[in-house]
Amino acid sequence: MIPEVGHYALIVALCLAAILAVLPAWGAWRRDVVSMGLAPGLAVGTLVFVGISFACLATAFLQDDFSVKLVANNSNSLLPAVYKFSAVWGNHEGSLLLWALILAMWTSAVALLSRQLPLLVLSRVLAVMGAIAVGFLSFSLFTSNPFERLLPGVPADGSDLNPLLQDPGLIIHPPLLYMGYVGFSVAFAFAIAALLGGRLDASWARWSRPWTNVAWAFLSLGIMLGSWWAYYELGWGGWWFWDPVENASFMPWLAGIALIHSLAVTEKRGLFKSWTVLLAIFTFSLSLLGTFLVRSGVLTSVHAFATDPARGLFILLFLALVVGGSLTLYALRAPAVSSRVSFAWVSRESLLLFNNVVFLVATLTVLFGTLFPLIMDALGQGKYSVGPPYFNAVFVPLMALLATFMGLGPVSRWKSDSVSRWRGELALPAVVAVACGLTLPLLGVEYNLWVALAALLSAWLVLGLARDLWYRVRGATTLGRGLRRLSPSYWGMLLAHLGFAACIIGIVATSQYSVERDLKMQPGDSQVLAGYRFDFLELAQVRGPNFVADEARFRVSRDGDVVTHLAPQKRRYLASGSVMTEAAIDPGLFRDLYVAMGEPVGAEGAWAIRLHYKPMVRWMWLGAIFMGLGGFATTLDRRYRRQRRSAREGLQGALHGA
């Protein structure tokens, strides 16, 4: 009964979304206030019904209703309740419903938080989001119905959730990632509404900015969680693989960075208007492309969902409609004449333009690498796979170049600046950065040129920010007052840029300084790695809720003091028979200690054991968290609140806004 309710709710949601896509748009065209005014209500209504549908599916999972095919295939009565819940999105159908739910949430958020927008703009924005919702809801209903029943012949128990997905990180990784992906639909909808209205001005950029920043922040956290999960769950200490599905989330993230910076220029200076619109379309298109790649089966990947050509065709048609349609609109409506506002080559604008170029090149590089096998196959040139060497070869120089110019960013001025002023401002930071580059690697295991370069660039970024911060707080009577005077968006920028610096350090230090050893060890053996002594104390059999495991118990000590106890496991999941490695990690700000079990060797209870010493690996994820927090911080800016208040006062003139 409950699954049927969910199914009907989904159908109602589709109908509401269809009305949302059509009626307010028609109203905007005919300047009909009544039908435009229905848009927020329809948006919330869609959310309510998608929400009911999602709740029904979650209930089916939590109640072990194995008559539902999805539950039977992806859950098991022994599964802990929290994983039964996360199993809802551990598969194609359920994750698509989650996607639709999150889209409905964003749409409602826009409807409820944007009362300040001119009704005309709001109704267009919501209509565009409604149209996207129609696409996803019908995709769900027509090709991937999550409520399909297995009647008769209900299985006694389910075939369990993929053990790799039975992990706390994976409970929130997909929702965060989707919050990011789908959040870019807001920027997209604003861009389309602006094109439809024919007015691409600073106010359009100002409306889009907080939404874009939040979406990007979610995506940053989602990608970070995915990388962290891979690190401890796959059992060999890797954290990024350039897998097509990872790339699918990385591309909108990169394009999102370009969009965020380009929006800043458009808002502050009224420049790059057509370019920013194009980036907004591009970023969301990449989110959709990611969906296509993951769910259509055109590329192989560890993460790929079970695929079906009908689904691929559906998303491709949808993609063609959304992207093709919006690009056609762009070609017809975007201002073809370049703005009359000008800027000098030495200015903040050109630095931001440089940022845009770097991130666009980076995005296209990843896109090309991801699609290369497909393109070669389609051209009949054989089957290829593109590996990490290609991506690293392109990415490392690009990011080094970026960091060099990024240090200039915060201290630079709009419109026109001078090289001699930059020289004056940054001579000291540059000297200190070089000193850091030369000395900091001495703290590491051995002197390493890559680490030196990373230290140099990160110090350059941090010192440039510090210099700028110093100028901003210098005039205040006390330091505290000076800091309080800074706007949240400035703090956001600061956090995000610091996060980027931390990422550079973390990635390079851990790639260069990691020590790992693969050993045959049996209880009683000890091993010293990077100054830590690992004692293999005993081997035990443990039983989890739905698995049995061999557990190796280690004591780790340094200079005779016990640092920690680690107990990696080799788990065998009962329902599926799959074997999983559960690494044991002692995390730290400056180093992680990592123990994973390989295979049993010989008959005397010896195992292949992998020991890792991973310096500063956390900096990478901390950096990503900083970037995410930075993205969230910008939205606290007073000017968005002021905008809301003033708009409320000027509600009378709402209709004349566009």
């Binding site: 790799l164 891979a230 796959l234 059992g235 060999w236 890797g238 693989f241 897998d243 057509s274 194009l278 379309i281 591009f282 298109s285 296509f292 259509s296 089966g297 055109v298 590329l299 192989t300 560890v302 050509p309 691929g312 065709l313 491709l316 993609l319 063609a320 992207v323 093709g324 690009l327 056609t328 762009y330 070609a331 017809l332 975007a334 073809a336 004449v337 699609l371 096998p373 497909l374 393109i375 196959d377 389609a378 054989g382 089957k383 290829y384 796979s385 590996g387 990490p388 693969d518 599926s576 028979g577 799959s578 074997v579 390989g598 295979e599 060797v601 292949a608 992998r610």
Partner: protein, 179 residues
């Protein structure tokens, strides 16, 4: 080119991309080019992993076996590895094709995770992979006693794949019911 026409460039680029994606839908990356099914394994002369011995096609055929394409850079191969062990313990002969990999890394991997392979062919340049039409690792080919490729599976071989697809075929080939 007029300024308005320039704005059409993104649309045109997307149209080209969409064509490729459409074509991609028909091409299943997991499917063996039909030309190779029921055709003999391509001939080759490549070194064996961890030795100076050269291997030829004749050295690795003779019984029904799995040819497993793997590499240390391949994440899924790690996931697959324990299952291959189980198959090897059940007596299924597995020939490894170490694809575009580094010998030292590969040997260390086998030392650490164990070696389920009868023998490993080193295909550092990917030449044999090219003849086979390897899309990426892991891939597994079922080759019969006469050295004829009977099935290709792209992706991880796990309990489900083995039980549902490979094992029935493997049994049939072993008992000689096919051909």
């Amino acid at each position: 080119m007029g300024p308005r026409l320039k704005l059409f460039i993104p649309l045109i680029l997307f149209a080209v991309l969409a064509l490729f994606l459409f074509r991609g839908l028909e091409l299943d990356p997991k499917e063996l080019p039909s030309a190779l099914i029921d055709r003999p394994l391509p001939s080759f002369e490549l070194p064996a992993l961890g030795g100076d011995r050269m291997l030829r096609r004749e050295d690795v055929i003779g019984e029904v076996a799995l040819f497993n394409v793997w590499a240390t850079w391949c994440v899924s191969c790690r996931v697959e590895h324990p299952y291959l062990h189980m198959l090897a313990e059940q007596g299924v002969p597995i020939i490894g094709l170490n694809y575009k990999d580094d010998d030292t890394d590969a040997l260390r991997w086998l030392e650490e995770l164990g070696n389920p392979y009868r023998v490993n062919i080193v295909d550092a340049q990917g030449t044999l992979g090219l003849d086979l039409g390897v899309y990426g690792a892991p891939e597994t080919y079922l080759v019969d006693a006469g050295g004829v490729i009977r099935y290709r599976h792209v992706g991880v071989v796990d309990e489900r794949v083995w039980q549902d697809i490979l094992q029935p075929l493997y049994r049939e080939l072993k008992t000689g019911r096919v051909n």
